[in-house]
């Protein structure tokens, strides 16, 4: 009886997603950037930190398609290496903030006794200024982490944790709202009625049904994390000075803005494109998951 079977939910979402042109374009751009930074080192084998002083401040040429910086380091290689770091930080920090946000959101929504406590905690974190907080964290914890993970991995862990731990609040609120609404639905009441333990209700019934708001806030959180990392690097904190990230490249280029605008435009443009792409993707996902979207 194939005629009567409903279309699988995944298909519906994909169909709705395809209808959203911005989302498709955003996903394509993002996919391209991620592929480029992942495969970049194999396709473009120049070392991003190698200094060739004879070729400094060179314009675009076959040897250096995007030119070189003030010390003769290849801009293309630096952009690719910088993108790897920036996008990796974005995704990892998103995972941290998502995990934490979902946990707190579900707990607050599901257990009434925890609700006011956890939501006040969320308010507290929302009131904290993120950048100064992260600066203090970098100052306090850089050295112990460097010691245990090495300079680059250490600062990676630090930046990811710092951003993740200060950006979970919107996710927690959205998830709590969804859980509160869900909790009163019949199927949850039914599950409770037949004696399903809370943990099982959460994993079996609640989490799959709040997946859409989580996914959307994941997309938006990634964009935020990339921006925060760029801001940190721009301020000269975070990764070691010779370690390229998009924010660092942008900050290095500000002095040369008038003479070599390309040096600032490339990393700046890529940050913009990534963040825009992620935002459109998130937008499309939200529309695609929205049940009311099919009413048309």
């Amino acid at each position: 009886m194939t005629l009567l079977s409903p279309p699988r939910p995944g298909h519906t979402v994909w169909r709705r997603f395809r209808r959203h042109r911005g989302a498709v374009a955003g996903a394509a751009v993002l996919g391209f950037l991620v592929l480029a930074v992942l495969l970049g080192p194999w396709l473009w084998s120049l070392d991003p930190t190698y200094i060739d002083v004879r070729a400094r401040s060179a314009g675009p040429s076959p040897a250096h398609p995007l030119g070189t910086d003030q010390l003769g380091r290849d801009m293309l290689a630096r952009l690719l290496a910088g993108g790897r770091v920036s996008i990796a930080v974005g995704l990892a920090a998103m995972a941290v903030s998502l995990g934490l946000g979902t946990l707190i959101g579900v707990l607050a929504g599901f257990f009434r006794r925890l609700d006011s406590l956890l939501m006040r905690l969320t308010d507290l974190f929302l009131a904290l200024p993120v950048i100064p907080l992260v600066l203090v964290a970098v100052m306090l914890f850089r050295e112990p982490l460097n010691h245990s993970f090495g300079p680059q991995a250490g600062i990676f862990v630090l930046v990811v944790l710092a951003i993740g731990l200060t950006s979970w609040m919107p996710t927690a609120r959205v998830v709590r709202g969804a859980v509160l609404e869900l909790k009163e639905r019949e199927f949850i009441l039914a599950a409770r009625g037949i004696g399903t333990p809370d943990a099982a209700i959460i994993t079996r019934h609640v989490l799959p049904n709040v997946a859409s708001p989580i996914l959307v806030s994941a997309a938006l959180g990634t964009a935020n994390a990339i921006l925060t990392e760029s801001a940190l690097s721009f301020l000269g904190l975070g990764f070691p000075p010779d370690f390229p990230t998009w924010g660092r490249l942008l900050s290095d280029a500000t002095v040369y803005l008038q003479d070599y605008p390309g040096r600032a435009l490339w990393p700046g443009g890529l940050i913009c494109l990534t963040v825009l792409g992620v935002n459109y993707l998130g937008d499309g996902l939200r529309d695609a998951f929205d049940i009311r979207g099919d009413a048309r």
Partner: protein, 576 residues
């Protein structure tokens, strides 16, 4: 305030006046205040005009328009008489044979800007003002060793030292030690010094200008001093010193937009500066003093495992205590390239910590100007540092040549770090770079782990210089007892933790040496010790860099004293 508009108005007025008075041009030349206003940009804004309560360069220089010393240094580092008739010396009898008294004589007919006469009592008062208990005088060391000051008459000042002073020209010499008016400051002694806001913000002086309006950390306005001793000077009737912004914006305001006539301290990429100068509105001037950018190698172990005792003498450095390693690190650096990339015409290669004055400059180290990677590798091979585990980094007995290299956040310094890291990697030394915000790095806060005094790294880069032309106190900063330690709250000038009894002995010798030739010989010997031990690797002798508009005449950039030292001679050049 719109400086452009004011200037345009002033220019229009002057052009008009010029046309009307054309036949009287020569008479006009000698007129005080004939050239209207000159606007100066200090991107660090002056916050007080009493040098004794500040010591900051920006404040000293702004105050130097008003307050003047007895003698000061000219652009070659030579002492020239200023408020005094002549510079006292043993030859002219001004300095006693035993070098324990010095006699200054004020010029005749000197007047303060309020019309009252300048007397020797004012000079004595300046000394009592600075040494007063609880006054917090920032330039106290200028008056070290003075036992008494006598005033036989209104123009004569006899300073008696408690011990022979090889270099008696310290007190009342240079922009750091000008004369205050007793009548204005007599109620401001000791703890009351900072409360005399009126006097501190508007000191009465003898200089070519008087303060008309002062807004701290923003703008100072001056007008020509009607009682200035030289007729026909200054050529400008008004000076505006505007503060704020950064070095790049300041350079742009003079060189590209022409909003200002003079901009101070333009330490930016030489390439960017040259491009701005190409606009043709102004020119960049530089002058070399004693400022040397250097890499300092830690002689103690900064390993965090040593806890509170890290970077102290009890724990020698695992590999930087080997002279061969230090020499190899120095040989690997291409100083010519550093100068070219970072400073351009505002920098010179130096192999010495004392790059000037000429008499103190050692000729023994000039070889460092050539990079020699092969010799560096051979040195490391010879000392037993080989890459035994094949990871590209040399090691010995399980200790890899891997170091942390830190400096303050600054575009030029980060470029230097990247270059030096690459050179060091070419001789098999791994480097991890760190940069720290300048206000923290140089902040001296004993609670912060990131200050340059604590030196929780293996190598670090910064610049240093000495005041005036005598390097004695500067060279004594590498004495053993000047090492920063937890006991002295990490206050100490011997950042490298260099501790050699032979060096300390030379410092003692110089303290007692009176003859200039002998002093120069000792200074060169100490310089050679520090440099040839490769504890400090001098890189670049940095100049002062400023810019002035093309039509501003009379600017003589002076690296030894205030940059505005000869503002009385500044004038507007007339178009040919």
């Amino acid at each position: 305030m719109n400086f452009r508009r004011i200037r345009r108005l002033a220019m229009a007025f002057l052009t008009l006046a010029g046309t009307l008075a054309a036949p009287l041009a020569t008479a006009d030349e000698a007129q005080r205040g004939r050239d209207g206003q000159v606007s100066i940009l200090y991107w660090q804004a002056p916050s007080i005009l009493n040098p004794y309560l500040s010591g900051g360069t920006k404040d000293l220089e702004a105050a130097s328009l008003v307050l003047e010393p007895l003698a000061r240094f000219d652009e070659t580092g030579t002492l020239v008489p200023w408020l005094a008739e002549s510079v006292p010396s043993v030859e002219n009898g001004g300095v006693s044979g035993a070098r324990d008294t010095i006699t200054w004589v004020l010029r005749e007919g000197l007047e303060w800007s309020d019309g009252t006469p300048v007397t020797s009592a004012d000079v004595v008062f300046t000394w009592t003002y600075c040494i007063a208990e609880g006054g917090g005088c920032a330039l106290r060391e200028k008056f070290d060793g003075i036992a008494a000051i006598d005033t036989p008459d209104a123009r004569t000042i006899v300073i008696r030292f408690d011990a022979p002073r090889p270099n008696p020209h310290v007190a009342f010499v240079g922009a750091q030690s000008p004369i205050l008016q007793e009548a204005q400051f007599k109620d401001c002694l000791g703890p009351r010094a900072p409360t005399c806001t009126g006097a501190n913000f508007n000191p009465i002086g003898t200089g070519p200008f008087v303060v008309t309006d002062f807004r701290p950390n923003d703008v100072v306005q001056f007008a020509a001093n009607p009682h200035y001793r030289e007729p026909g000077k200054p050529a400008f009737s008004e000076v505006v010193i505007k503060g704020g912004g950064d070095a790049t914006a300041a350079a742009r305001a003079v060189l590209e937009t022409g909003e200002f006539d003079y901009a101070w301290n333009l330490q930016i990429d030489p390439h960017v500066l040259a491009n701005m100068a190409a606009a043709g509105r102004g020119q960049v001037v530089s002058a070399f003093g004693t400022l040397v950018e250097r890499v300092v190698l830690n002689q103690t172990n900064p390993d965090a495992a040593h806890g509170a005792r890290r970077s102290t003498l009890g724990h020698p450095h695992p590999f930087l205590s080997d002279p061969a390693v230090r020499q190899a690190l120095s040989l690997a650096i291409d100083r010519a390239l550093l100068v070219e990339i970072g400073y351009g015409p505002a920098g010179r290669i130096t192999c010495n910590l004392i790059p000037a004055p000429d008499i103190y400059v050692s000729q023994a180290n000039d070889g460092c100007a050539m990079q020699d990677l092969d010799r560096a590798r051979a040195l490391l091979d010879g000392a037993g540092w080989t890459d035994s585990d094949g990871d590209g980094v040399r090691d010995q007995d399980g200790v890899p040549l891997s170091l942390v290299f830190q400096t303050s956040t600054n575009a030029v310094r980060q470029d230097f770090q990247a270059l030096i890291k690459q050179w060091w990697s070419q001789i098999g030394v791994a480097t991890e770079l760190r940069n720290i915000d300048a206000s923290v790095f140089f902040g001296g806060d004993p609670g912060s782990p990131d200050t340059f005094q604590k030196f929780y790294a293996d190598a670090q880069m910064f610049a240093g210089a000495f005041d005036g032309t005598d390097p004695e106190s500067y060279l004594s900063s590498w004495r053993c007892d000047r090492i920063p330690t937890p006991e002295n709250q990490w206050q100490g000038s011997n950042i490298a933790r260099y501790c050699q009894p032979a060096y300390d002995a030379l410092v003692e010798d110089m303290r007692e040496a009176g003859d200039i030739e002998r002093r120069a010989e000792l200074a060169r010997a100490m310089n050679d010790m520090l440099v040839q031990d490769h504890v400090i690797l001098p890189l670049v002798n940095r100049g002062r860099v400023s810019a002035h508009a093309n039509d501003l005449g009379g600017v003589v950039l002076n690296p030894w004293d205030s940059e505005l030292w000869n503002i009385a001679d500044w004038h507007r050049k007339t178009a040919e």
